[in-house]
């Protein structure tokens, strides 16, 4: 056992314990750690963005190198601040419109292809999809289960008709798949949260106290 002598490790360890103290009840140590985190994170982000984005990609080219074309993004960026002046606050729509226009234009074809068309292709019962499971003849079974799951789950979310008859049956099967999905997601969430606890304990027992390597 060799306790760390690094002040940074000690600060980190004490702040971790301060945050853990919230599990007992709210207290000044937890609130101190929380406020410190928010302050440091914001301070870090502001200075980092200023020195690594604004200065090298805008201020330097525009004001030091005299690249006048950069005045256009500079003005567009400044327009965001017009929100604070009620008389001309409508100008904020210009940079927002440019940003939304760019992202929508770039994302619609890409996401439609990747998230909808490819996913539908993956659901269709084809020999390629059967083989993709690498499970021999079981590939057909898994593909059929996925097909039924997608079809029935979609039917559960079809609200234009009362869930009776065939739609009632498929929607009830669909809710089973949805519940299994929720269960899997919850199980994974538990796994993630315990992993976080383990990570902190590994730090406290290893880096700080030296009990484990």
């Amino acid at each position: 056992m060799s306790i760390s002598l690094s002040p940074w490790i000690w600060i980190s360890a004490l702040l971790s314990l301060a945050v853990f103290s919230f599990l007992y009840k709210d207290n000044p140590f937890y609130r101190f750690a929380e406020h410190l985190f928010i302050g440091v994170a914001n301070g870090y982000a502001v200075t980092f963005y200023y020195h690594n984005i604004l200065v090298p990609t805008l201020f330097d080219p525009l004001f030091r190198q005299g690249k006048l074309l950069y005045i256009i993004p500079f003005i567009i960026g400044i327009l965001y601040f017009t929100r604070f002046i009620p008389r001309i606050s409508w100008l904020v729509r210009i940079p927002i419109g440019i940003t939304i226009g760019y992202y929508v234009g770039a994302s619609i074809p890409a996401t439609t292809q990747a998230f909808i068309i490819k996913q539908i292709q993956g659901t269709v019962l084809t020999s390629t999809n059967f083989q993709a499971w690498n499970a021999g003849s079981w590939g057909i079974v898994w593909s059929v289960i996925v097909f039924i799951g997608v079809f029935c789950s979609l039917s559960y979310f079809y609200f234009s008709k009362e869930h009776k008859g065939v739609l009632g049956v498929t929607s009830r099967i669909g809710i089973l798949f949805v519940m299994i999905g929720f269960g899997a997601a919850f199980g994974y969430t538990v796994m993630a949260r315990i992993s976080l606890l383990i990570g902190r304990l590994q730090f406290l027992l290893g880096d700080w106290l030296g009990i484990i390597q």
């Binding site: 993956g122 999905g181 994974y188 993630a192 992993s195 383990i198 009990i211």
Partner: protein, 289 residues
């Protein structure tokens, strides 16, 4: 019946305490647990393992401090694998927070190899074997821009070197020279690599994600959009297992060492869920009477 009532009203602090003890004991006693490698991780390993000499592996380090327990071991294992096989690596970040952690992983794994290297050829050398491209916002710009020219998107690397002067970058122009892109992320970024880099430029994408978001990513593995997938600490442990058993690299295995704690932690959670449900149904039955 008082016992049942008590079980349904267990103080949450007792649950925390029990969980902490159960997680703590295996960490101290270091009880080993066998790691069974699942196909999604094995496929990723094989994809990295078969990267040709003239292609590179891109690793997108997308984890922040809160994701370290799950994603950092993946980063270390991937780098060990790549460096052992002398696969050239381009590291990058799409956000600010992971920069320091990416640098830490690169530095530590490089030191591991260089501490036992006999010659310059055995060593892992910056600029020749790997390059840390750093950060270029917003994420969409590098995702699309690297399809045209990587050095245009990253004119300078993380350390301020001009990227077109680095020997590795002389042979790496764009996605055509990339065999695989692995995104280690706690968010939705791996899906965006699929949408923009793979969809448009055809680059193979794999992912290492946190367990909490794992259920959102399996469908991309099933459709073949992800070449491989690591999920949570378990996925990291599986990759560590492959690196140790197949490459005989015996280094610290943080994820594998944590697996017993993870298992017992889950068992405790299951036990509490069962206890809570028994209490609920017994009380409901009593109310109905």
């Amino acid at each position: 019946m008082k016992i049942v009532e008590r079980l349904t009203k267990i103080d949450r602090r007792i649950i925390y305490l029990v969980l902490a003890i159960v997680v703590l004991i295996p960490l101290i006693s270091r009880s080993p647990e066998r790691v069974r490698v699942m196909p999604p991780v094995e496929k990723l390993y094989n994809a990295v393992d078969t990267i040709p000499k003239d292609k590179v592996l891109i690793i997108d380090f997308g984890y922040a401090p809160q994701d370290m327990p799950e994603l950092e071991p993946m980063g270390f294992a991937l780098l060990r694998h790549a460096f052992e096989k002398r696969i050239k690596v381009l590291a990058l970040c799409l956000y600010v927070q992971p920069l320091g952690l990416a640098q830490k992983a690169l530095t530590e794994v490089t030191e591991e190899f260089n501490s036992v290297a006999q010659s310059n050829t055995d060593s892992i050398i910056y600029g020749r074997d790997y390059v840390f491209l750093g950060w270029q916002p917003p994420p969409l710009i590098p995702m699309l821009g690297m399809g045209i020219s990587i050095t245009n998107v990253y004119p300078a690397d993380y350390y301020g070197n001009k990227t077109d002067t680095l020997s590795l970058m002389k042979d790496v122009k764009n996605y055509n020279d990339v065999a695989l892109l692995v995104s280690l992320s706690a968010g939705s970024i791996p899906r965006h690599w699929v949408a923009y880099a793979q969809n448009r430029f055809g680059v193979a994408v794999a992912a290492g994600v946190t367990a909490v978001s794992a259920a959102d990513f399996y469908q991309y593995y099933q459709t073949g959009q992800f070449t491989g997938l690591m999920t949570g600490m378990k996925g990291a442990a599986e990759y560590e297992e492959l690196v140790e058993t197949r490459l005989n690299i015996k280094k610290s295995r943080k994820a594998s060492e944590a697996l017993p704690s993870l298992t017992y932690g889950h068992l405790v959670m299951i036990a509490f869920i069962i206890i809570g449900n028994i209490g609920y149904f017994v009380q409901r039955k009593r109310r109905q009477k």
